[in-house]
């Protein structure tokens, strides 16, 4: 079940909200949420729900076991931790990477091993990483193990963030499980966030998907040349895809955060206007923040982080970016995608130190644009069905093997979609924040008339967005959710 579906919006959500708020006690509210979350997952994955339940049980047992003090068994805690991580990663490897590994073994060693065709359970990468972070945090004594199985199950299966993040740390919601207070402010904020996220997903991302797909689908390899792909259309496709993936994913995160607020949970932000980043390092502080911070805290820092010799740091970065690429998909293009970011980060760190360059304002502007261009190129690799198509596409963007600079059809694509592209560009920028900062001050906002006017305008916008989003859902708009199978 996805948030932008009719079944979720007009069946699941109203029923769950009603039952949740009808039930008086916190304990029963948690039970309602747990049952709803399990049903939410089972609706999309009626078989793999059992995988998640087993994962919850194992991590529950591991969490308790790893927190105990064992006499005459000094390293037992560590062994339990390793076993738990091994189990979690095994689940992930079997469902997500086994086919990839076997396929590569067959190719490299010319074997004929059986290629398993295993479906990928939705959200497995997300709840597995949450489970791993829980057990590690218990081991490191950052948190107390959750002795109540149902509460741990609630944390791991909570439906707002189950399928596509953000990856929530147990420490962030530990107190919320027992002591959260639902209130009108949070509920209203949650609704606003949800509507905005829904609009981003179905109005922007899905429309951009049509544009990006129409260009990238036309980029058929034909005798070494990308058929019908000019430099302009290659860039248009890349930019459209960059926008699509941003609104797709950030929209879903907004909906997840909004839903969390409706139930009294505060999730961390997952995006912070990433296309305004002034460096690749800055980009990864703004994009999928929960994932990048997870890798930083559970892989990079334990490996040594920035400490040690240059080679050690480079090694650490290599491991992190290899894993980041692989996390996104079991395919070599994702590994290359991670590798490209590794190279860009190393360049920023050691060849063109970004911090010094950013001291000049003109450099900041230039590097923002350069960063966006690099990001667009990496998304091309991310989207490609294989590495060579991705590289050839980027070649077209740079004028290599393109069918010319411009064709009239490129003009049609741009003219037909300029409103959409313009709106997307606007929505990528933190204009609300800028407006607040630059044009208004506290004194002005306290004026009652202006306050009320802004409130009315905001309400109108939200109502319009809601109706247009529902209309788009009714249309059965082409709606590929890119991060669904991660």
């Amino acid at each position: 079940m996805i948030f932008s579906s009719a079944v979720f919006l007009f069946a699941f959500l109203p029923l769950v909200l009603s039952v949740y708020y009808a039930v008086p006690k916190r304990k029963w509210k948690n039970h309602v949420l747990l049952i709803a979350s399990l049903m939410f997952y089972a609706w999309g994955e009626p078989v793999f729900i059992f995988v998640m339940i087993i994962s919850i049980l194992i991590n529950y047992i591991a969490g308790i076991a790893v927190s105990k003090q064992y006499k005459n068994a000094y390293y037992l805690n560590k062994r339990i931790l390793i076993a738990a991580i091994f189990f979690d990663l095994s689940v992930l490897i079997i469902f997500k990477y086994l086919g990839f590994f076997v396929g590569n073994l067959n190719t490299i060693f010319r074997l004929n091993l059986f290629l398993p065709d295993i479906s990928l359970p939705a959200g497995i990468s997300f709840f597995t990483f949450q489970a791993i972070s829980y057990v590690i945090d218990v081991y490191k004594k950052r948190i107390q193990p959750q002795k109540n199985l149902l509460k741990l199950a609630l944390y791991l299966s909570l439906f707002p963030q189950l399928i596509a993040g953000p990856i929530v740390r147990y420490a962030d919601i530990e107190s919320s499980i027992d002591y959260r207070k639902e209130n009108l402010d949070a509920f209203a904020d949650g609704i606003i966030r949800f509507i905005i996220g829904l609009a981003k997903k179905v109005l922007l991302a899905d429309s951009l998907a049509l544009l990006a797909d129409s260009i990238m689908k036309d980029a058929n390899l034909y005798g070494g040349l990308f058929h019908n792909l000019t430099i302009v259309s290659a860039w248009l496709g890349a930019v459209a895809y960059a926008m699509q993936i941003y609104f797709d994913f950030s929209g879903y995160s907004d909906m997840a955060i909004g839903l969390g607020k409706m139930f009294g949970f505060e999730f961390q932000e997952n995006f912070n206007y990433p296309y305004t980043a002034c460096s690749i390092k800055d980009f990864w502080r703004r994009w999928h923040i929960s994932l990048s911070s997870w890798f930083r805290d559970y892989v990079y820092i334990p490996l040594g982080g920035n400490r040690g010799r240059k080679l050690v740091v480079v090694r650490n970065l290599c491991i992190v970016w290899l894993l980041t690429g692989l996390w996104h998909g079991a395919s070599w293009n994702f590994v290359l995608w991670g590798g490209v970011f590794l190279i860009l980060l190393l360049v920023e760190r050691y060849i063109f130190p970004i911090d010094k360059l950013m001291e000049k304002k003109i450099n900041k502007v230039f590097y923002r644009i350069f960063t966006f261009i690099c990001i667009c190129c990496t998304w091309v690799i991310f989207r490609s069905t294989n590495i060579w198509n991705g590289i050839r596409y980027i070649g077209c963007m740079l004028g290599i093997n393109a069918e010319g600079f411009y064709k009239q059809y490129d003009g049609f694509l741009f003219l037909n979609n300029w409103v959409l592209l313009f709106l997307s560009m606007i929505c990528c920028l933190p204009w609300c924040r800028w407006l607040n900062k630059a044009a208004f001050n506290q004194t002005v906002w306290k004026g009652r008339f202006l306050n009320q006017t802004c409130t009315v305008i905001q309400m109108l916008i939200l109502v319009i967005l809601m109706f247009f989003s529902v209309a788009a859902i009714a249309r059965g708009t082409y709606s590929p959710f890119i991060y669904y199978n991660f």
């Binding site: 579906s5 009719a6 079944v7 919006l9 007009f10 069946a11 959500l13 109203p14 029923l15 909200l17 609706w43 009626p46 078989v47 009108l184 402010d185 509920f187 209203a188 609704i191 606003i192 509507i195 109005l203 429309s207 049509l210 544009l211 129409s214 064709k407 009239q408 059809y409 490129d410 003009g411 049609f412 694509l413 003219l415 037909n416 979609n417 409103v419 959409l420 709106l423 607040n436 906002w445 202006l450 306050n451 409130t455 009315v456 905001q458 309400m459 939200l462 109502v463 809601m466 109706f467 247009f468 529902v470 209309a471 788009a472 859902i473 009714a474 249309r475 059965g476 708009t477 082409y478």
Partner: protein, 391 residues
Amino acid sequence: MYEKSIGSKVCLSAFFCMILWLFLILELAVNAKEIIHRVKCITPRTAEDTIREINFIYEENIPFRTCLLRLDSCRRLIVNKWGYEDSNGFIVKDSDNRLHSLCGQVSGEILDSEIESLETLAYYCKASDIPFVYVQAPFKADTYENDLPYGVEDYSGENSDYVLNKLNQHGIDTLDLRKYLTGKDVFYKTDHHWQIKSAFEASVIIEKAISSYDSLSGINQEYFGDLSNYENIIYEDFLGSYGRRTGQSYSGLESFTYLFPLFDTNFRFQHRKNGEAVTDKNGAFENALISNPLESDYYCSYMNNSYEEIIIENLLSENDKRILVISDSFGRTMCCYLSLYFSMLVNLDTQEGRFDGSVKAYIDEYRPDAVIVMFNSGMYEYEKTYEGLSS
């Protein structure tokens, strides 16, 4: 940041919950029985299929669907003024607000393989002493000097010219309807099909052409080809195939005119699927050949919303001639009028997923007095359609 009042928060929360509950109640009111029935059928083995069905039922019956679709098409009108795209492809709007899908340039290799299929069938007919003619139906973007949006090109004319030239070079009889059917009113504004009047004119032109064959000479044509012998039944709320995809706000509505004979007719209509009769109707033209339209799709009401294998017997025919027409949906309307001239007309639709039997076996069994293959220029992009001809 400005502060939102409590009142606004209450209003927002109430609005949101009200919308969700309103849709829930209306959905259940329409779909509850069906959903309960599906839920009862859930077993672990079929859980996935059952859930998929419930999802489908729920999504197909969203409340206020028509209004929501119109609202969405308003949005598309603002955001994508010149062209509309969905998972089924691209539709562009010309300066007269007519909707078109466009033909790409089909490679010579693909066209040659399709020509080969046509020729195989043509030679088979020739060997059986059955006249064969390939009829090129027009394509919407090619019928007049329309002002398509900047940068958009249509290659339907080029593709058709290539095929017709090659067939003529190899001695295959062809009939190019594009020469006769030109102008803005050949096709519907919001549909990819030709108008009923165009289909009627096509039937007259085709009948005149094939009556030159010895096996079909001496058939009275003029009466059936005179428009004054038909009455016009007009509906003003036609939303064609493109219009249903883009939404009424994007395309607008147009009128649809049925042409019903004023003279006596008596037909037997059969629709067969995998050799078995699915529909068997008798009656006058407008009763036997035309049914109630589904969702105002008047065009598809011809041939009773059916395709694959259609047999039309003209019980008042003054001759015993039999015609086999292999066509796409353009033939659906044309064949209804063409059947006035002959005692039997069989229409096969060889597009993918439709008639997949052997055309040659059909010819052997029915021994038609002529075989007509008619496709519009857009069909060159669908190779499977032509593969079925030579089976």
